[in-house]
Symmetry: C2
Subunit: 389 residues, 2 copies
């Protein structure tokens, strides 16, 4: 499979004399490391930037692959350092000891690390006299501003997500109703069946989704409940699909809420309020605006419609999550569209996903992924919002 | 899908007055948190043990689901603490501020955290006067000693892994040879085809594998190279399959090396040495032995056969990875069977995977997953080792 090859200078930070960037992580789960190195490793490896050079310190096991695949300037083997310290101390060194010797030989005194840097790595470095500066997310400022290739990656995953959504909605649209429940070809249509059909559609095209939501009625009132069991007629079904490309590793994300049968006036009113909130959110999404302002507009609109957010009988109701989030190599990354301040810039790829949830009635969420531009946004989600199918 | 429900007291640590366990992580990637809470969340959540009570602090978004699914004693909403601090300070509090207020109200002074605890969370807690004790892995001692249910989970994943391996080997066995390359039904048989067939087999049964290795010739000499392109005849093909169950979340892991066509004497000799090394490793695996002793026996045997491990022309050759690793909720977890000391105990589930790699000739690795018992081990990998297919 093709793997996107980020530019050699992707993730370079501007450093002062004596400073180095240090990341110690498995790049299968740490997207900063993968962003900077283009190297996929399932166990923790050591990434450094010294001066304007990006480096990896790798165990023998990863050496050959690192030299071929990583988009860094230097790949060093841990082995000679291991042997050197082993000779001096008469025992196998810890990774942290090797890092220290390597850093001292490069006259490094100050380490710039991400917020998720492990304390088990940081404390020994501090004890050895290194100063540690924790740099806030986005650790690599340029990671939030997508390149054309990255926009293409997100757009491609989103296009397949749209296809998978259509495939799922068609299944539900074709269902028949019996005793207020959905049946397909004479057998009960389960949330699990629809989820599996979505996952299979994605698998066949090189995408992986794991926790796709197909949740109806009260299940959908917990926004992260994946949903289970026989799907009901006449109740809103929330379908939230967020797959990752197995080749580019970029995510897509979209949600539609549909209903087979007759919608009550109450459901229609909730749906229309969410649809209007989505229009309001999208109309405010552009470079220069702060994410918290967009979230504020959505909250304001819901309040103006009498939609109160509160806990009742141990369950939340109303609108109680963020309006959206950046996505790229992570499904949730900067910028955020929620309570905290987070400026939007051209090149951000973000979701917009207002929702309303009322236990006993049902949940509605509508979500598009868009690209922020100078003048507004480009919607990467080419699919209509229609409640009744 | 069914999700295994660990016992309510899974992951309980013995604490002194004023101490608490603290984990802040996304349980989709942090298995300690999932082990203790049975709660799957894709964004960082706060886990605490205070006294003998396990607790989660959750955002409104996760509250309803947490109360239903988590195997903890108390689920608290962040909301009232958020509102309380917001009233006092006139701004939205950070997660760390809420944690501090919660901990102080419970008279906690000392926090026990895992080695991967994020420094961006630890520093503010230290600044606020909390003492932080970093507890080494295995953070939860009992995580390395599998319960009957956990052994069943690993064994089940491993049984499906064996089936997927058989499926892959059958494909290669059925291939025909033309110009020293493999063809199936008249078309070139690619490493990618075999990998996709494995992934599809696993997908259809509720298992996910992503970086399955099907690597021949020189590709296999980088042990983590996934392999690509037209598969050759007369050369060893390393197949390493490590899927995760999407229901139980437990991993399996196995490797076979096969060859279609004629094996050279050199390849046969390498294969037989690895096979013998595997027998030696397995014969030493039992409770009370240290992993490093088993690794030492394998190294010793290879050395006795004249198998030197060294870097040559920028490539490693010989045996240059660990003999094995624990597996369970993580694909790599305690105990380790490598250079560092790591005692084996009854109830550990570990791999044994010696290998030899010679660029220009090829790589051979054989890997079983076994359960460590008092008197030896129970092999969970019911599949023969045969080079020629």
């Amino acid at each position: 499979m093709l793997r996107s090859a980020p530019a050699q200078n992707q993730g370079l930070l501007s450093l002062k004399q004596g400073e180095a960037v240090l990341i110690v992580a498995a790049s299968t789960i740490d997207s900063n490391l993968f962003y900077a190195s283009s190297f996929l490793a399932g166990d923790p490896i050591t990434y450094l930037q010294i001066g304007s050079k990006k480096m990896l310190l790798l165990p023998e096991l990863e050496l050959g692959r690192g030299r071929e695949e990583a988009s860094v300037d230097e790949v060093h083997s841990l082995l000679p350092w291991d042997q050197k310290i082993r000779k001096e101390k008469g025992r196998a060194p810890k990774l942290s000891e090797i890092q220290q010797v390597f850093l001292k030989e490069h006259n490094i005194e100050r380490l710039i690390v991400p917020q998720n840097f492990p304390i088990g790595q940081a404390d020994p470095l501090r004890d050895a006299g290194f100063e540690i500066l924790v740099r806030k997310e986005p650790f690599f400022t340029d990671r939030a501003i997508k390149t054309d290739q990255e926009i293409e990656n997100v757009a491609r995953t989103q296009a397949i997500t749209v296809e998978a959504m259509h495939h799922a909605i068609q299944l539900i649209a074709k269902a028949s109703i019996q005793d207020d429940l959905l049946f397909l070809n004479g057998t009960p249509l389960l949330a699990e069946d629809v989820r599996l059909a979505i996952h299979r559609y994605l698998f066949d095209r090189g995408y992986h989704a794991e926790n796709t939501i197909v949740a109806a009625g009260d299940q959908a009132c917990d926004p992260h409940n994946r949903g289970s069991g026989h799907l009901p007629a006449h109740k809103p079904i929330v379908i939230d699909i967020f797959p990752r490309s197995l080749s580019t590793r970029y995510w897509g994300d979209m949600t539609r809420t549909i209903l087979k049968g007759e919608a009550s006036d109450e459901i229609i009113s909730i749906y229309n309020d969410v649809l209007e909130a989505q229009k309001i959110a999208l109309s405010h999404l552009k470079a220069g605006v702060d994410g918290s302002e967009v979230h504020g507009k959505v909250k304001e609109y819901f309040t103006s419609q009498g939609r109160i957010t509160q806990e009742r009988n141990g369950k939340m109701e109303g609108f109680f999550h963020s309006t959206g989030h950046g996505l790229g190599l992570d499904i949730h990354e900067h910028p955020k569209i929620g309570r905290a301040r987070s400026p939007l810039e051209a090149g951000n790829t973000v979701t917009s996903e207002p929702g309303l949830y009322y236990p006993g009635i049902g949940g509605v969420r509508l979500e598009d992924t868009v690209l922020i531009t100078e003048g507004g946004h480009r919607n990467l989600t080419d699919y209509p919002n229609e409640l009744i199918v």
